[in-house]
Symmetry: C2
C-alpha cells in the first residue's frame, strides 16, 4: 500500500515554518505498513492542489493532506475538494453545534459567519470529527484512491490521525508489515563503515534495505524490511545486525529506541538509585531542557545551575577565582570544580558539567573556538575530557550535548 | 522566476528526520526573489528522482535538490543526473586532491575506493566546490531549466548555497523582488481577526497577499508582495499594516523580525544596563537555552538555576518550606520567591521565574495540570501572573516559554 502526503501552505514554501506535519505523518504511516511514495508541499492555490491530486490519483492508494481548512479566505482546501470530486458544500448541524460549544467554553465571543462556514463540508465526505478544534477532517474516495484532508494545526492533526484516520485505514485496507531498526555507531566515517561492511551489505536479501544516516560524529545504520510477518522480519533484522558486531563492534553503541538517550540515562540512574544535576556554561541550559522535556524526569533530575557568567561559576558553584586564573575558564580543572559545585548545591549523586567556547568570537578564555570540556562525576568516578569541535556555534552546541549524553550514558551503563 | 525544491532520502519519507533543508532553501530562495512552486520529498530511487526532474522540466526555471551524494551504495543522485542529462561520470583531479587533504587532516585513515568515487562527477556539470566536505555540488542545465544538486548534510548544503549557488543565480538570472512582513498579534482567534479586518483584506491590491498563521495563543499576519522595487513594496506594506492599528491595535505586539524575541529582550536589557537570570522549575532550562543559543547572550545573561526538585528551590533559591507548604509549590508566592532567590544568587538585575504543572500527571502540587505561574522582577517592578494552559505537556512548555518571553519583552519595553 502506497501513500502521498500533501502539505498545503505558502508558509512552508517560503521557509517560515518547518514542515513537522509531514515528518509525523511519514512516521505514523510507516509504522502501520504504508509506504510513503512522496511528500508534496504546495501553495494554498487551487491549481497546485488539483495538480497534486491528479499526480496522486491511481498512482497511490492513499493521499493524506494537511492544511488550508481554517475559516479565512486563504483556506481553500474544501473548495478544491469539491471541485475535484464534483461535489458541493453542505451544512453539517452536528459540526455547527460543536463549534458553538467550543466558542461558549473557550472563546467567549459570538460565532461569526467565518466560523459558521467551517460547518460546511463536501456532501459526500465521511466526516472525521475533530473534538479539539473547529476544522473537521474529511475522508473521500475517487477510483481506488482514498483522500484524507486534515487540519494543519499539529495538535489537532495528530488527534485526528490517532483517533480517526488510523482506525479507518485499518478497517478499510489490508496493511502489509514493515519493520525498521536503526543501529547507532560512533567514531567511524560513513565511507569507512561502508568499506568494512561491504560484503555484509552485498549479501542483504532483496526485501531488506540498508541506509546510512551520518550526522556530527555518529553514523546510524537503518535496516528496513518489508513482508507479512513482523516477528520473522524482526528476527531477520536481528540476525543481520548481530553479524556486524565482529566487524565494527567497538563502534556500535546500541540501537535507536523509542526511548531517547536521555530517558535511557534516566532509567539507568533510577537503577543505581542516583539523582542527576547539570552545571552548564557553554550548553547554557540545553542539557537540563533535554532531560526535563520528558514526563517523568523528576524521578531522577534535581536541577541545573547554568553558570553563563564567571560570577555565577564563583558565587553559586564555588569555583575559585584562583582556579579560573591558573587554568582558564575552559579547563578540565574548572569543569570538575563546576560538577562538584552543583553536587554540593543540589545534593545530586551524579553531575555533568560543560565549559567551552562555541564561537563565533573568543570569550572570557584563551581557548580556541570549538574547545569544549565535559566533566562527569558519579559516586565512583571523576571523569573529564577535552574536545575540539570546530568553528560553528550551532553545531558545537549539538556536538557537545550529543557527546555529553553519550559519555554519561556509557559511564552509567559501565558502572551497573 | 520559479523553483522546485527536491529533497531526496527515505529517512524523510519514513519520518526519521525533519526536512529542515527544504525550510532553509525555501527561505533563502524567497529572500532573493525566487518563488518556490513546490517542495518534493522523494525516495533514494532512480525512477522517483527522474520523475521529479520531468515534473519540473520547463515548468520552473530552477530545480534545487539535496541529498544522495554520499559515498555509499544508497546514494544515487549523480548516476541519475547522468541518466537524465545523457552524460557520464568523469574523474575530477582537483576534487580528489581536496578529498585526500580532508582525510589527512581529519580522518587519519587512507582514502578508500568509495571516497575516490566522490571525485567522479558528470562531465558537463559546473562544479560547486564544497570546501567543508567530500560531496561536491553540481550545476547543470537542460532546456531553460537549471538543476542544482547539493549534499544533504545541512552544514555543507548551507555553505554551498551561500558561497556558490546564490552568486551563480544572481549572475545567471535577473531576479524579481519579493517582500514579506509578518505582524504578531496575541489574544484574538483567527476568525475574529478575519471578521474585524474583512474590509481591509478585501481591499488588498492584487500583488499583495495575506496569510493567517495561528499558533498557541497568537496569530501572525503575513503580507507578501511581488514587484520590481523593494523600497516601494516595503512602503506599501507599511501603509497597509498601519491601517490595522485602529482596528486591532490592542492585540498587535509588533513584527516578526530577523532578530528573535529573546535577542530583542537582550538589546532592551543592554539599553537599561541590566543583566538577566532565570529561575526555572517547569520550563526546566528551556528559557536559559533559548537565550544562550544566540551568540552575544553573555552581554546580558548571567545564568539560570533550574530548580526541578523542591530541594533545589529550598537550598539554592532559598524558598522557605513554610511558603511551599502554605501556598503550594505552584503559586505566585513561590514564583516571586524563586525570582528573588536567583537575583540574590547570581547578582542579576532582572529575573524571570516559572513554576507549574505541565502534566501528564499531577506532580508535587495540587495545582491542576496546565497551571503555570510566571514571575518577573526588575529593579522597578515585581510582576506575577497565573495561567491555565491545558493538558498537553509539550504544548504547555511552548506556551509557557512564549508567554514568559512576551511578558518580559513587554515589561522591559514599557519601562524604557
Amino acid at each position: 500500500m502506497r501513500a502521498d502526503i500533501i502539505t498545503i501552505g505558502d508558509e512552508i514554501l517560503i521557509g517560515q515554518v518547518v514542515d513537522t506535519n509531514a515528518t509525523y505523518l511519514g512516521k505514523i504511516l510507516n509504522n502501520i505498513g504504508v509506504e510513503v511514495r512522496q511528500i508534496h508541499s504546495i501553495s494554498d492555490n487551487k491549481e497546485a492542489i488539483l495538480n497534486a491530486f491528479t499526480t496522486a490519483q491511481d498512482q497511490v492508494d492513499l493521499v493524506v493532506m494537511t492544511g488550508g481548512l481554517g475559516p479565512t479566505k486563504d483556506d481553500i482546501t474544501k473548495h478544491t475538494l469539491c471541485a475535484y470530486f464534483d461535489d458541493t458544500l453542505t451544512f453539517f448541524p452536528d459540526v455547527m453545534a460543536h463549534i458553538e460549544e467550543l466558542f461558549r467554553k473557550y472563546v467567549k465571543a459570538p460565532v461569526n459567519a467565518l466560523n459558521r462556514s467551517q460547518a460546511m463540508l463536501p456532501s459526500s465526505c465521511t466526516q472525521l470529527f475533530n473534538a479539539h478544534g473547529t476544522a473537521m477532517g474529511m475522508w473521500m474516495q475517487k477510483g481506488e484512491t482514498v483522500f484524507v484532508s486534515l487540519p494543519g494545526v499539529p495538535f489537532e492533526m495528530k488527534h485526528l490521525v490517532q483517533e480517526k484516520m488510523i482506525p479507518l485505514l485499518k478497517a478499510t485496507f489490508s496493511l502489509p508489515v514493515r519493520v525498521h531498526k536503526t543501529m547507532m555507531t560512533y567514531g567511524l566515517g560513513e565511507s569507512i563503515i561502508a568499506e568494512k561492511i561491504s560484503d555484509w551489505e552485498s549479501a542483504l536479501p532483496q526485501h531488506i534495505k540498508l541506509a546510512y544516516l551520518p550526522n556530527l560524529g555518529r553514523v546510524r545504520l537503518r535496516l528496513s524490511a518489508k513482508g507479512t510477518d513482523a516477528v520473522q522480519l524482526n528476527s531477520e533484522i536481528k540476525t543481520l545486525f548481530d553479524a556486524l558486531y565482529p566487524i565494527i563492534g567497538a563502534h556500535i553503541t546500541g540501537f535507536e529506541s523509542e526511548q531517547p538517550i536521555e530517558m535511557q540515562i534516566g532509567n539507568t540512574l533510577v537503577k543505581h538509585k542516583w539523582t542527576l544535576a547539570t552545571a552548564e556554561s557553554c550548553t547554557g541550559g540545553k542539557l537540563a531542557s533535554i532531560f526535563t522535556k520528558n514526563a517523568g524526569a523528576s524521578t531522577f533530575f534535581k536541577g541545573s545551575i547554568v553558570s553563563y557568567s564567571n560570577d555565577v561559576k564563583r558565587t553559586v558553584l564555588g569555583v575559585s577565582q584562583d582556579k579560573i586564573n591558573r587554568f582558564s575558564v575552559v579547563s578540565e580543572e574548572v569543569a570538575l570544580a563546576m560538577a562538584k559545585g552543583v553536587i554540593r548545591q543540589t545534593g545530586a549523586d551524579v553531575a555533568i558539567a560543560t565549559t567551552g567556547n562555541f564561537g563565533p568570537k573568543k570569550g572570557d578564555s584563551d581557548a580556541e573556538i570549538g574547545t569544549v570540556v565535559i566533566a562527569i562525576i558519579t559516586p565512583n568516578i571523576n571523569y573529564v575530557e577535552t574536545f575540539c569541535f570546530g568553528k560553528h556555534r550551532e553545531r558545537n552546541l549539538h556536538k557537545t550535548t550529543n557527546k555529553a549524553l553519550e559519555l554519561l550514558h556509557n559511564k552509567l551503563v559501565s558502572e551497573l
